[in-house]
Every structure is written in C-alpha cells, then in structure tokens.
Symmetry: D2
Subunit: 393 residues, 4 copies
C-alpha cells in the first residue's frame, strides 16, 4: 500500500498527501513555521474567525493544484508524475518567504526584499537540504520550465493561490459573498498553445470571481479598521527600530540591525509569536508613541480611521496632529506617528498586467474584458483609490 495521509479541512473536507517527498517538505520546520503565521494579519480584530494560518492556506492551494492537474490530465493535457509532484511542491512553498503577519509587515521587518524573493531563497535552501529533489519545482516556480501553464497555475490570474485564499478567507471571515465557484472554474481550466485558459462556459463564474475579489478587498482586506490596525503594526516595528526598543531573539536582530546583516536562518525562525510577545512587552515601554500603538493593538483600542473619496483635508490633519500633541505631550513631528494619512488602492482587473483568456468552442481566444456584454469594462479596469486618515480617538 502506498504512502497516504489525510488532513481534515473545513473548506474542502479532506486533503490527501500521497507522496513521500511532499510529506517530508510539509514536515520540514521551515514549512511548519507557517503554522505560526496568521494568513490575514490583523483582520481578526474585525472578523474574529479570521485566524487561519498560512500553513492552512498552503495546504489548501496544494489541494486545488491536485484537482487542477487532474482535470487537465483528463482533458488530455500531458503532465507526467514528476511534473505533478513538482507543481504541488512549488505551490506548497509559494508563500514560504512570508514573515510575521505576512503582507502587513512585508518590507518593514526585512526591508530589502519582497516575500517572493525570500520564498525563492528558502526554496533554494530546501532544495540543497533535499539533495536537488526540488529542482523541477524551482524551475516551475521561477517560470523557467517550458510548460508555462504550470507556472500560471501558481502565479497568474487564475492561479490556485488566489482561488484558495478567496475561498478560505471568505470561509473563515464568514463573508459569504466572497464565495467563488472554484470547483466550476477548476473544471473549466484548459491549456491552449501551452497557456492556461478557461472554457467559454465559465465566463460568468470568472466574472463572479473578479467581483468577489473586489468585494473581499473593500469589505475585508481594506476594511478601514483592519487597515488601521495593520498600519499601527507597521509603525510599531518602525518605531521600535528607530528607538532600538529592547526585545528578545530571534526578533532582536531584525529590530536592531540592518536587514542585510540578518541571516536566512534567523528569518526562518521568526513568526507572529515573536512579534506579538514583543508588542505585549512594549505596552509598558517608556516611549509613549510605542506604548500607545502597542496598547492599541493588544487591547483593541485602535486609532480612529476615516475613508474619503479625495485627499484628506489638510485642516483636519492639522487639527488631529495638534490634538495628539497636546494630549500626549508630543512634538508635531512625533505626533505623525499617531496621526497619519495614506491611500488604499485596489483594482478589480488590471488590463496592463492581467489577462484571463477565454477559449471559445470555435478555437478563438478572447480576454475576459472583450467578450460580449462583459461585466469587466473601463470602469472596473482602472484602479480604485481611497484616502484615509488615522488619528487618536
């Protein structure tokens, strides 16, 4: 009897691991670390169910990859066992480079690199540890493998990463409107001239997928309270770095040294627990800015946040700065740590970068934005920008 492990998943029922190499990758401490990284950073302050881990998301994306490959094989697309294994490993590891609180602290803790670059470095390191058995996964992950559609399943408009996170995030937040017909989309995937496409019949499901994503952005990912908490989190780390606030390893080095002096190994030991434990300690820090921000996160006493359609009124900003200065005895410059503005941007479908190709029964190919009566039009293709201000309550 072959190797076989089953994991319960409330989203998909069961996830089956039936390959030993894959099970070893999952068992590796670098992968297990993802258990301690929240997929949705601070979203649980608004949606209490949103506490699922990045490990759970990686397993979910792996599960969808298996379904996608199966469907493609059933349609006659050639994918051999080595390619299947490699694609599954590549998706398992696609987010391995995420640090504590994922996107929220990206380029803050480690300011020189995006998580994709870190993922690549870590996969290379794992490939060494696994004696080169991840080389094909690495080729697919870096889009250097000739079957481009395998890369597109990992990173593209219809990749299984997005499908899983939309599914999973809408499931755990309880925002049912974010539900997507992922199973239908997976059944409609096809490969044409080496590129991943979807069959004509899936048009409405794809449009629905894009609208669900739009909704999830504004209702969840960019929810004003979530955005505010994540901005506070960023500022906590920045302030801690600035004042060289004391903390413990493995976080200590990342706070006190330039990112380039830190090691990959140290990074692979960092997770949400280090950051939250530090924040808990800093609640009692003498630096009022740091302790105010930290107390805000720990006790859910967040800054007040407002969204506007246009740039925030300068008078409002000044007024709030003055208020903060007065109440906490800060200089105006210091008050900017607690009173700040910014922009939240989302695009539903960005024609410059994104392409979802529909393969019609007659063999023609069209972009989803070009089909008859398309939902996606000029209005939805531009970026939507909102302006926000955060300040002391």
């Amino acid at each position: 009897m072959s190797f076989r492990k089953i994991i319960n998943d409330p989203v998909y029922g069961f996830i089956t691991i039936d390959d030993e190499l894959i099970s070893h990758v999952i068992a590796h401490p670098y992968f297990q670390r993802l258990r301690r990284i929240n997929q949705m950073a601070m979203a649980n302050l608004v949606y209490p169910g949103a506490v699922h881990s990045r490990l759970h998301h990686a397993l979910g994306a792996y599960h969808l990859m298996g379904i996608a490959i199966n469907e493609l094989k059933n349609k006659g697309v050639e994918i051999n066992p080595a390619e299947e294994q490699a694609a599954k490993i590549a998706i398992l590891l696609h987010d391995i480079g995420h640090g504590p609180f994922s996107h929220a602290l990206e380029q803050v803790l480690v300011d020189v690199m995006h998580h994709e670059d870190l993922s690549l470095m870590i996969i290379k390191e794992l490939n060494k540890q696994f004696n080169g058995r991840l080389s094909l996964a690495l080729d697919i992950f870096t889009d250097r493998y000739h079957k481009k559609f395998l890369y597109q399943l990992i990173s593209g408009q219809l990749d299984v990463d997005r499908m899983d996170y939309l599914n999973r995030d809408s499931f755990f937040t309880g925002v049912n409107e974010g539900v997507i017909g992922y199973d239908r989309i997976l059944k409609m995937l096809t490969v044409h001239h080496g590129e991943l496409m979807v069959e004509e019949k899936s048009i409405y499901s794809i449009e629905k997928f894009l609208v669900a994503r739009r909704l999830m952005y504004w209702q969840v990912y960019l929810h004003k309270t979530v955005l505010c908490a994540e901005q506070m989190l960023k500022r906590i780390i920045k302030r801690a770095k600035l004042i060289q606030a004391a903390t413990r390893q493995p976080l200590h080095d990342f706070i006190t040294q330039p990112s380039e002096n830190t090691s990959l190994e140290a990074f692979c030991n960092l997770d949400d627990y280090d950051v939250m434990a530090a924040i808990k300690g800093w609640c009692f820090h003498e630096d009022k800015i740091l302790s105010t921000l930290c107390n805000g996160i720990i006790n859910r006493q967040l800054l007040k946040v407002q969204y506007f359609g246009n740039a925030v009124d300068e008078n409002l900003i000044q007024e709030k700065l003055a208020d903060a200065s007065a109440r906490l005895g800060l200089s105006t410059e210091e008050a900017h740590w607690l009173v700040f503005t910014g922009e939240a941007v989302s695009s539903t479908y960005n024609l410059d970068e994104e392409h979802i190709h529909i393969l019609f029964k007659d063999g023609s190919v069209k972009d989803i934005s070009e089909v008859d009566n398309a939902l996606i039009n000029q209005n939805l293709m531009g970026k939507v920008k909102k302006y926000y201000i955060c300040y002391l309550k």
Copy 2:
C-alpha cells in the same frame, strides 16, 4: 402558551409560524396547491436538484419578511402587529396566482392575465372567505397603504421575494456563485422618508446581489437547455389548444375554451400534475408535432438549441425547417412548431424601472449606480439580448 409551528427548511434552518391567521392561510387548499407547482419549471432537466415548490419559496419569503420587519423595528421604524401580520400574509400570497410551471406557461394557459392579476383576484377571494381579515394585506399588496416601504418589501429592487428565490434557486441548483449575502442586506435595510433603502455599508453586498442575479439569469434561468425545454412546453399547450387535443379536467377547459370562459375556481385546481399527466398521454398522440414535443419533454430528448450574439442566420433557419419537414413529413408552416427562433433578454439593473437607494451616514441618498466606483455602469444597465434557434437534433 401562544400558537407556534416550526417548519424545517434546508435554506434557513427553521421557519416559525406563530400566528393563527397565518397558519390558516397556509392550510388553505389554494395555498397548498403551490406544493404542486415547481418553482423553476423545467430547470430540473439541467439542474436535477431544482425541484423545489412554489410553496417552499413562499414560506421562505415569509421567513425573510419576518427578519426584515424585525430589523426595521429594532432600528426604530414603527410597524404595529397588524401591519406585521398583513405584510407577512401579503408575501405568502404574492405568487398565489401562478399556474402550472409558473412563468413558463404564463399567458399561455390563461392568455388574458399576468400572474400578478390572478394573485390579486385570488387574494380578494380569500379575503372574502376569511371575512375581510386579509384587507390590510390586500392594501399593502396593491401599494395602497401609506407605509410604502411595506409594499417595497414585497415588490421592489430589494424585496424579500427576490432575495428568497435567488437564495433558494442557487441552493437547490447547486450554483453556489448565485449565493447572496441576504442576511447582511437584511441587516442593512432602513426606512428614510417612508421609502425602503439600504445603509452605506451594504454597497458591496448589493453590487454582489446584482451580479449574482445576472449570473443566475444566464447560467440558470436562461440556460439554453432550460430555455429550450420551456419553449417546447409552451408550444405543447399552444398546439394542444390548436388541435383541441383531448385531456381531462381540470386542464380540459383551459385547452378547449377561451380563457375568459374559465373560472377562478377551476384555475385554483390546476397544477403541474395535470399538465405533466396530459403531456404523458400526448406522447402517443397522432399529431406528430404534439407527440414529438411531448416525447421530448418526457424522455429528455430535447430540441437542439444554439445561442447567437446576433439575429439567427436566415439560411440556417431554412435549412433546419427543410430538414424537419422532410424527416417528419410536415409542411414548412407546420415545421415552425419544431424549428423556431427567439430572443432571450436580461438586464442586470435597469435604471428606467429600478432604483436601489443608498442612505449615507450624512443623510444623503444616492442610487447604487451613482456611488463612487460603482460596479453598475452604462454597460450593465442596458438589456442584454441573445438570439436563439431551436431545431430537431
């Protein structure tokens, strides 16, 4: 202890009936008849789960009405017990005038009236039988009551009728993308200057609701196979009327006499079973047109159907007519019964007729199509039209 009955509903869990008058309305044979009328006519030929009854839909809409009224009362909108009872009765009876196979045979079996007119006649009749106790329900149903929002809950852009049928139809078909955040929308309902509106926070849910509706139209209600089967059903009744095909009561009168000679009582005795039993009999009818159509429905050997973006090519029509004539020995005129074209039309949001008003926190009111970065724009507001042809396989 007060009156109380609980009905299991897979969509909402439990539906509670806690009013004796309402329970008597539900127990009336006219309402019970809705048990024998399929909510989605022929859709089960494509979606086998879509066999739920119109009675089930009416109970579901009643349940949502209860939630809506509760939410409004919690927000300080004045609704007294008599109004609540009346609104619930009005929604229970809103579709009481539907005949066999609902919309599919509307104005075919009874060619002089829409189902809304028949609903009105039946509610008036019931009001007599209930000694005038449905008078307030009747006023609300006919929009003659001064609290206009009660009418809008029954018939409007955000009425509980639509919410329930979208919920229920997506549930029973298994088309999950049709899911709407009805509970969020209900929580966001409000009344402003006597009109039903939604709060600002619900914008994305409303947009999602409109897109889900658009999807349900093209993926389900106007699915080409469903449309074809319903067109065949219409033609069966028309052909039976033309050739005065024999059948039994209560259908007999509707086939053999002008609609104006039939009685409301006879209508209230008609249901899907009468029509299907007749169709089963007509499978063996000597009229080839009638028997071909009937066999098609009974044995799911439907006509072939194709959709086009433009009017169907005349040559194609002629070719198919010739083919049908030759194969069944029909005149060209007769062949039109089995080879026909038409248009399927749907609109996502029709600005001329439809208005969803958003109440902003600052007290201003905007149409959903006018909010910043609206999903609903010119492109989606027009009607989408597709052209189809049905012909012998």
Copy 3:
C-alpha cells in the same frame, strides 16, 4: 478529448459522467422516468424541501461509487476499467424498479413483486437493448461476480446507496442531525479477503452513521404525519382497485387488472404524475371513502395520527370507528378505511442480517458491535416498534 459531462449537485458539488455507455444508460427513458418519482414519497408534507427525485439519488450514489472505487484502487485493490464501469452502472440502476412514490406504494400497485425484482427485470431488458453491454453490471448486481466487495458497495451495510440517501435526505429535509461523515467513511473503506470492510480509525464515524440513520428513521421516514400520509396513499390505491375507480392509462391497467396481467413496458411508463393526477380526479369521486382520502392528500387535510409504546387501546379504536361511521354514514367495516392501526418498526443495527466489519491494524476483524466500548449494544440491536392509530380529525 474524452467524453465528459458535468452535472451540478447541491449535495456533492459536481457529478462527472466520463463514459459514453454510462451516459447512454442515463439518457434512456427508463432512467429518465426516475425524474418523475419522488425519492421520499409523502415526506414533503412535513419537510417541504424533500421533493428530490429518485434520479437525483441514483446520480448521487453513482458519484459515491466513483469515489469509493478510486479510494480502493489507491489502496492497491485491483479493479479494472470494465469492473468500474459495471459497478457504476449497477448502482445507477439499483432502484430502476421503483414505481410511483417508491416504497410507499411498493407491493400495492404491483402486488406480486418487490422493487428489487423489478429492478432486475428492467436491467435485463436494458441489457438486451444495449446488446449485452450491461452483463457484467448484471452479474455484480445479482452478487454472482467473484469480487464480492463490488456487490457490497451496492447492497450492504456500508453501500453507497444508503450513504447517498442519508446524505441527500438530510440535506433536502434540512434535518442536519442526519448528516454523516460519508467522505471519511469512503476514505476508510478497504477490502480484506475479498470483503468490504472499514479501517479501525473509522469506528466513531460508523457509529455516528448508525445513529444518524436511527434518527432519520424516527424523525423523518417514520415521522407520524409522513407515515399517516403514506398509509392514506396506500389505501387510496387499494380502495380504487376495490371499487374499480376510473382513471387513465398507464395507471388504468394497474388499477383494474391483476398485476400479473400488466406489462413491464407499462410499468416503465408509470410515475408519480399518473398517481397524483388520478388522486386529484378522485377528490370528486362519489365513493366517500376514496374522495375523503384523496382530498386529505391533495389539500393536506390528513387523518389524525397518534403513536403509542404499546398496542392501541381497543376502546379508542372502537370510539373512532363509531365516530367515522356516524359522520360519513359508513358501515363499521367501511369505517376501517379511515380508522386504522398498525406498527412502525425500525432497527438501528440488526445483528442477524447486518455486519459492519472493522479491520484492525493488527489484521484482526471485528463486528462494529464487538469493539471496545461499542455504542451498538443489545439495546440498539433489537427492533424498535411503535404502534399507531389514524382516524378522522
């Protein structure tokens, strides 16, 4: 590209048909007839969602068969493509012999045969029409094939028939407590010495399955109102036969002739619509017994029913008989048509007939009732019997 059709199912998401012979079996009018046979007979009078068809159940069981076979193959059990196809066809057709209202009218309309015998006759007939291509399916169905576990998947304690109907019936009724961990059980199936078993880890899921079945029996299948309606239905047909009540074909022959004179072809044309249309007509029949029963079903004005732990008190029966006689002017003998008693019996796990074998890791095999701390014990293994009386309200 191979043959491939996808059917939406609210219970399992999608059901895939990827074999042409199977698609032809599904398209056959005998199978399509199951569309017009309600899986749960009269249960919708209590649970309005319970209107799913026997065709839907057959497709669901087919889907589970595919999963079960896949799991077994993954565990190294040898099942070749021909066997897989045959097992799938056998489960698709396992209930093909059900007549109108399934169990409720079994041995009433056709009094000489069980539905299993009729299924066998029809499968044989189909095998002829398909030129012997269903022979292997027939061997499996009749337990004459040497791989016994294939038969056990169709008919046994853990067959996919039961798994689907428990899933489906609990889904459509909304009785969530009936939910079973079918996916876990399927993943735990194994074959040992040619017999179907389950792995040790599934013990709790199996116990849960048995308790869910027990619950579904008493809460749904033998719910007193459902039982009463189904008893009324039986009596309608019996009374119609006795008084030779007029109706139309194809029902006519079954009402007016001994079952042995009817043809299989006629049977394959019978469905719920014929019976319900007849009942609708008999509402106006001059025979008071028949019309009372028919009105009861159509207008949901059912007899009153009571359950007792012991045999019904003879005085109560006499009192109700006298009441019925007086009110409808019937002889006491006639009154028995409307006042009757009976027993409802269910067993959770019947050791005489049933065996669920658990395969332990050490290779030993035990019956589910023999494992440590078994839920299933003497108390649950006997049959539970309740006594009921139905009478005029």
Copy 4:
C-alpha cells in the same frame, strides 16, 4: 436609534450586540485577552483549522444565549430585560478565567485553582470596575439567583457553552460528524418548575447531541496526537518551573514563583503568545529535556503515542525508558519526562452528575436515559478509559 453592532461569524452568520453595557464588557482588555487564547490548545497540530480563539467561542455562546432566551420568552417564560442582560454577560464571561492554552495548562501554570474559580475572581473584579452593574450576572453565574434555569443555561447538560463549543469545534476542525442540531434543541427548550428541560420532540436531537459529543471526544479532544502534544506542553511548563528556566514577564513570575504569590492582574496579562514565545526560546535551552520537548512542539516532531484498552505493559515502558536514557544520556528518572503513561477518560452521559430532563406532553418528566428505546444505556453511562504511552520516536 438604539446601540447596535454586528459581528460576522462563520458559524452563525451574524452576532448582534445591542446593549451598551455588554459592548463595554466585550471591549474590556480582560475580555480582549481571550483573543490570544486558542480555544483548542494543541488540536491544530492535527486539525489545522482549529485555531479559533476563546473570544470567538464566548461570543458564540452569547449568541446562543440570546436565541435561547428568546425562545423561552416566546413560550411564556418570564425573563425581564435585566435578567436577559445579566445572563448574556454571565455567559460572555464564563471562561474569562482560562489561561494560556486553556484546559491543557489548567492547574499547571496556576496550580491552586480551576479556571472556574479564576473566572469568578475576574468577574468580581470586573463588577467592581463596572460599579456593581454585573452583580446580577454574578448571582446567576454562581447559581444564587432564584431562576435556576438561567444558571442551567450557562452550566448544565444543555448549556449554551457546550452547544457552542461542539458547533464551533466541529466547524473549525472540519469534523462534520460532530455537528449537532443546536437550533432544534434551542427551539425545544422549556422551563418546568423552574428547571430547564426539553420537549418530548427533541429526544432524537438530544441523543444525537450526546453521540456527537462522544465522537468529538475520541476523534478530536482526545485524539492521540493532540493528547500527546498537550501532555508535552504540560511537561514543558513543569520542567521549566523545576529548573527555573529563564523567560520574560508576564510568564516569568508564574514559572519562578509559587502560584499564591502571583497576582490576578498578572494572570490577566498572560496568554498563548507568552507561552509560545518562551517555548521558542527554550528550543535552544541547555537542558536537553526542556529543549527536546520544546522542539517537538515548535517543529511538530512529537513523541510517539499509543493507546491501549488496558494498562500499558510494564516491559514496554522499561524498554522505552532505556532507549530514551541511552539516546539522550539521561538518568532513568529524567527519562520519565519523555517516556510516560497515563489514562484518557470520557463519559458520554454520567448518570451520577448529569441529567437531561424530557418534559412529555402529558406533563411527566423523564431522564433521557429512561425514555423508551433509549440510546443512552448502561453501556454508555459508564466512563470510557483508555491507556496511553508516549515515548521518543
């Protein structure tokens, strides 16, 4: 317009907070701390979705309390607004005394008290801070209020605490068989002579509830890997105390001082993050026992665990102790930290302590174990005990 806040919950849809005092209790840092305490301790090592917080559970139980009270009021049970508010506050705070990793570390970190005692102390402290406005909640919580059923809703066989955790834990683990018909049970609650009971019709739902609980115990709460990880966690803290392992505040005091020297305020600052951050640090501790246990938890390299029906064989224990001693250079006594045995115990229904009373229509009351054909019998009422051993892999 009254106070009103809505929280999304994937389990129940929406949870409404419509009382200002309650919203202040929720906003209090002591309550917000529950956000950082995992409801299911180490279960996520087996069930990756099981990362929901104790705050989420408290909100869920609060939601069910609202439904329960509403149902009882609809049935004529007198509950005034103050009592309703108090009962809701009592359930919100019922678990406020849980420390890091809840039950897993109960009486390990703070060895002198059960979480119920700590809850009581904290509620008293909060009552002070809220100027006595929680006094009625306190009375209900301590069962000193004359309406005993309010206490029974918080702590009893059918309390909303259990109902929520069974719902929530089965939801987040994905163990669907654990689902209970909580909505039906809530609808069947009633009060008779001041005691909480359920109506006769709920018998099957209650039995199902007990079986689901039994299943959740063995499949989830006492899953051997979960049990092993939680035993390791306990030993980590015990070992850290023994060797006075260095860590930071607020954990430091609890490791280095007797519990009686710690303050309630310090306790209210402790959460999972402190413990996990300490464990992460101790992975590099020079004490081999401590670092082995800590690495096991962090990298999911757990001890091997086995369950037996009888006491673990002494030879096996000695063999494993010898192995551990040899491999890590430990004395036999020290090896006991990594090789240990124990008992896992669960009871489905314990007649000595538990009573679920069924109120029959005739006014009589029976225990669930005494009804006809009861599922709960001698066999299920005893405690089930399993014996386990954990040792180095």
